[in-house]
């Protein structure tokens, strides 16, 4: 019964953590990515290296940072550099993963974190790109973490802050973005999603425990590719929850 008592945030953290490949570097943003990276390092990818955009590389993550320039992003780190060095490392193709968020995502994984409505007189002004555009441009594989509803999963983003596959196959390369890069996964509170190799459109991979394929479709504002075989995400394990609650975020800053 303990296995059922988890929050959707905890589940998203676990799903994201299980995606990480050992021996790679990952751009970490504030929030869920920090916890996912810390969890992955403990259980699945001990050689995953957290990289923070303002310069922290290989921090211990003993304490959870509260922001991407925070003291904890470089406490006992292997290097405390600056933003240019980190972003140039990404330009050279040395950073495998990037986590992204946003207010809107479209079928090609393009993200909006700038405005809702018109740019010059917006309905809602959002924080802006920050490092998201760079992470989405330069990392090999990006993982978006989003709440899943029709206002967020939209046919067309109001403002294309961060590049996904733009308008389809080959579009990134035509735009000049590094070849072979792009969106990899979307971790939502309902499901895990990926992208169709040919069309580069979003595709359902697995639903979360207790969630139906129909629920996912209903909460998505565009046509989602539903493969014949849809997987099932495992709920957080005892081990995952213990690590998260007792070691990674004991003060419950995020979970």
């Amino acid at each position: 019964m303990a296995e059922r008592a988890y929050s959707s945030t905890e589940l998203m953290i676990c799903v994201a953590a299980r995606l990480m490949e050992d021996g790679t570097g990952a751009f970490i943003g504030t929030g869920i990515p920090m916890l996912a990276a810390a969890l992955a390092k403990r259980l699945y990818a001990p050689n995953l290296v957290p990289i923070f955009e303002f310069g922290g590389i290989g921090a211990s993550l003993e304490d959870l940072p509260l922001g991407v320039g925070d003291i904890r992003t470089f406490h006992k780190a292997l290097m405390a550099a600056g933003i240019c060095d980190v972003m140039e490392t990404a330009t050279r193709g040395l950073i495998e993963y990037g986590f992204l968020g946003g207010a809107q995502i479209d079928p090609y994984g393009n993200l909006n974190s700038t405005v809702i409505g018109d740019h010059d007189r917006p309905k809602v002004r959002l924080p802006g790109s920050g490092g998201a555009n760079d992470v989405g441009s330069l990392c090999w594989r990006t993982i978006a973490i989003m709440k899943h509803d029709k206002r967020r999963f939209v046919e067309k983003v109001d403002f294309l802050t961060t590049p996904g596959y733009l308008d389809g196959p080959g579009a990134r390369e035509r735009a000049g973005l590094p070849a072979g890069t792009g969106p990899y996964r979307v971790v939502s509170d309902l499901a895990l999603l990926g992208y169709d190799d040919k069309t580069k459109r979003m595709k359902l991979l697995a639903v979360n425990p207790g969630v139906t394929v129909e629920q996912v479709v209903e909460n998505t504002g565009f046509e989602l590719i539903i493969p014949k075989k849809v997987g099932q995400n495992e709920p957080p394990t005892r081990e995952e929850l213990a690590a998260l609650r007792e070691e990674i975020d004991p003060h419950r800053l995020y979970i």
Binding site: E53, G69, A80, T161, P163, A175, G176
Partner: protein, 323 residues
């Protein structure tokens, strides 16, 4: 150079590298001059109405908050800002001093959005040109290089590009399409560091953010420092000097100068104060009251620290881990 595409955003500060050269030659000196002064004098002498200003790092991390508050106090007007920030930009926007922003991000990460920027943007009170984080840092880097642009591989294919003032062109060596970012030369750069001598030689602990690039992209440069150290210490570890004195116009001694933000290995951020600010920022009245209490009714940084209280500051010092 054939331009394939260009952003529609205003080029708020054109990359006049020749003017920058002339200005630096006329206004900077390699002489070791004592530049230690009060924040009042530094801001009065080196920040002018209409200036284009940049702050480093950002408003909860090693940020020159004491200088930012002094700019608000002196009411410098029609400012244009390099907007990679949080709290420092919000204070200036809230005080109605900002006209235009080259913006990459303004928000409070774990604490959510910035209501002050949101109100100003939604009300059309500030003009905003979009960039990515790295793009802003690279624009400083281009200025530091002394050249009018730098080619990069970010921003392509997006509205971030379309609402910026970048251009895209094809590389004559490889045929690759690249973003060309215009150099960003600041009228004033403001940077908070761990240690500086009276001449302005600076050391920073931990990440350098974009201090190295921004210092070199500034016509005038104000440094605030937690500690003023003898020049012998600088000479002993010359590889630790990240900003050399001849780039600096003013050195301000500002212990806890980043409050309510943090300072690596010295003190942690003041989460309570930030929450108080964000609560206040929800309404215009609240914001005005916050500014009155923490900026306008306060004479200087010394008085600000008294208001925050010694006990609280000592606690922030205890909360941070050492090396």
């Amino acid at each position: 150079m054939e331009v394939l595409e260009e952003g529609r955003g205003e080029l708020i500060q054109p990359p006049d590298v020749e003017g920058f050269r002339r200005w630096l030659r006329e206004n900077k000196s390699m002489a070791l001059k004592d530049k230690l002064m009060s924040e009042h004098e530094a801001v009065e002498r080196f920040v002018h109405d209409g200036d284009y200003i940049g702050f480093e790092l950002y408003g909860t991390v090693r940020c020159p908050m004491s200088i930012s508050r002094e700019i608000v106090r002196q009411g410098k007007k029609r400012l244009r800002l390099a907007g990679q920030g949080l709290n420092e930009l919000d204070l200036l926007i809230a005080a109605g001093l900002v006209e235009k922003l080259d913006l990459t991000y303004i928000g409070y990460e774990v604490y959510g959005l910035s209501d002050i920027l949101r109100r100003a943007a939604e009300g059309g009170k500030v003009k905003i040109v979009e960039w990515s984080n790295a793009a802003m840092a690279w624009r400083f880097k281009a200025a530091a290089l002394g050249v009018p642009f730098i080619p990069v591989r970010s921003m392509l294919g997006t509205d971030t590009f379309r609402y910026s003032a970048a251009k895209a062109a094809r590389c004559p060596f490889t045929g690759l399409k690249l973003t060309l970012l215009p150099a960003l030369i600041l009228d004033v750069g403001i940077i908070h560091v761990h240690r500086a001598d009276r001449y302005g030689n600076c050391q920073i602990d931990g990440i350098s953010g974009f201090a190295i690039e921004m210092a070199r992209a500034s016509k005038r440069l104000i440094i605030s420092a937690e500690e003023i150290i003898p020049t012998e210490e600088i000479r002993r570890y010359p590889e630790r000097t990240v900003i050399p004195y001849f780039l600096v116009d003013a050195v301000v001694h500002a212990p806890f100068g980043s409050h309510p933000g943090d300072m690596a290995y010295m003190y942690d951020r003041d989460a309570e104060h930030l929450k108080e600010f964000l609560e206040a920022a929800k309404t215009e009245e609240g914001t005005r009251a916050y500014l009155k209490k923490y900026v306008y009714d306060i004479k200087d940084h010394q008085e600000y620290l008294q208001l925050i209280g010694e006990e609280r500051l000592a606690e922030l010092g205890r909360k941070v881990k050492g090396r």
